[in-house]
Subunit: 356 residues, 2 copies
Amino acid sequence: MHGKIRIERNPNRKTKPGLEEALGFGRYFTDHMFMMDYEEGSGWQDPRIVPYGPISHDPAAMVFHYGQAVFEGLKAFRTEKDEIVLFRPDQNAKRLNRSCDRLQMPQMDEEFVVDAIRTLVRLDADWVPRKKGSSLYIRPFVIATEAGLGVRASSRYSFVIIMSPVGAYYEEGLQPINILVESHYARAVRGGTGNAKTAGNYAATLKAQALAKEHNCAQVLWLDAIEKMYIEEAGSMNVFFKINGEVVTPSLSGSILEGITRNSIIHLLKEWGIPVSERKISIHDIVEAFENGTLEEAFGTGTAAVVSPIGSLLWNGTLMSINQGNIGELVARLYDTITGIQYGRIEDSNSWMISC
Amino acid sequence: MHGKIRIERNPNRKTKPGLEEALGFGRYFTDHMFMMDYEEGSGWQDPRIVPYGPISHDPAAMVFHYGQAVFEGLKAFRTEKDEIVLFRPDQNAKRLNRSCDRLQMPQMDEEFVVDAIRTLVRLDADWVPRKKGSSLYIRPFVIATEAGLGVRASSRYSFVIIMSPVGAYYEEGLQPINILVESHYARAVRGGTGNAKTAGNYAATLKAQALAKEHNCAQVLWLDAIEKMYIEEAGSMNVFFKINGEVVTPSLSGSILEGITRNSIIHLLKEWGIPVSERKISIHDIVEAFENGTLEEAFGTGTAAVVSPIGSLLWNGTLMSINQGNIGELVARLYDTITGIQYGRIEDSNSWMISC
Ligand SMILES: Cc1ncc(COP(=O)(O)O)c(C=O)c1O
Ligand SMILES: Cc1ncc(COP(=O)(O)O)c(C=O)c1O
């Protein structure tokens, strides 16, 4: 535990954007934010909820120079019974600690982190939108704040939680996306930081992401940096392929993010008795399955979209259209099930949902 | 050009630390800093020098989340004639632009950047220390400031320059250091961001750096991430080996930083008629040279220390002591020459020094 959370209410509530309108992603922020500071020797201290507003740092604060910054992303949903619930926040708290460990940053009490999130959501509960498919996106992050230019781990950090009401990822229902298989740039490598949710990993992807856009692709599919052959993950999603009745996803090699949606989907597939395996898959396996007609479905998974059907893969100039660009049966079932559990329409038999 | 620099003088000058005392590295900062902002559509604007002080950002500012942050490091010296000069600042401006390009950040006019540095140094000229070996370290950096959580390049940035008086790296003259050859963690990989001076690259090294400390080593020597065999560079230095009369340094593979000191040293060696080559070198080559007695010298190069003799390499539990842990003749000559040029004791025949 890191002490009792002090609450300073915002006397100037913002005018909310039409919460029933197109909210986009991460554009509006709620009235409050959570903050807590770390100092070497005394640990995490002064947990507090304060009005959302600018944070001020010395220009020599280490986050600006040496990139010690990790984050998480999860959602609060308003159920059909008007309850507000979180999807597996304990898993985000765990992963946050793993990321901190990789970046030489101090860990936190996981239960306390979940409690901080719940307290903040309760306070800004009227920001959780009601429109179908919308939710409140929650962004916990930790940054190094010591002022100093020696290359070493900072002795001070801030942990901050901000929240943003977000629209349905697919306003008009699931939409297959095009994905560019990237063969020049690399996102991460064995021994690097690929399995941590750290800021630098994302900066490293922006150039490839921009090239993907030029090819009319929504995201990049990363291959391993060593053999440039094994599939890793997409820009902000893990990926799954259904080949000849079996669902396959790349195993956790150390260079991909251990997605919480990924884990939940593997769990559901096992419950449903659908063969699923985590293993190395090369782009050549995919091309082969495409060519012999056994590549039945492909999809990405992540907090933002839950699942995203992949309509086509563009690799070395060859376009592979999957399931004639239609939404597959399995991806639709997974989407309906997970969103059903999140919005309270389907029984939560795995106790994934935590109420606020 | 990005407009005329507006200057707002600091009415409250700081009490300087004893500039003749042990200053350490990057612990004290001068009275002023340079700032300039970028906005998509209108470009870089409002270049200004203002009192050094905290900078304030929305907690959703992209630098905290997606790591778009690049930086440079260079020094101003007070010569024996009491002039203030910079070492090859044009090269830092060039590299800053290359880093920006890799990270999908907007570039700057290189002459303007040098001009901004010179203007700032002139204003805080009394912060350039006089003690032997000391200097004013200059840290230009660019960070993403748009508030938003979509993973994409920011539409806003700040360019900031801060400065810190620093002591001689080796207060008591050159000192050989121990280096740990890292075989588990990776710093960078082909196709990644290793040749950009970006924040995330440094965050990725801190865990290995901490392990090196536990082995009484000052820095890590990185091997390539793919074959775990070819030498790349040290934590914040490029590396050179003198083997049987020839000086060898790893070629610019795309995953190592193109050091300005490295470039200057190659230039000097060529001038001196000493054989020097940039090529792939494996740790096995080094072990072999060590075993057959031809590993004559090894040293790191970088702005902070200029050159650092390597006294020993620790690899897989084997300690290789180089030149009996003594300072080599070549490293001493390089140190004396470069610092001689920097402090105006030796003629600057390559026009490396720019006056402020
Ligand atoms: C790189 C990356 N991979 C995978 C994911 C999916 O993880 P999760 O399902 O926990 O959201 C994300 C985003 O959240 C991500 O940023
Ligand atoms: C990773 C890395 N390599 C090499 C160098 C040396 O570069 P330069 O000689 O330009 O200072 C530095 C530091 O400056 C560095 O951070």
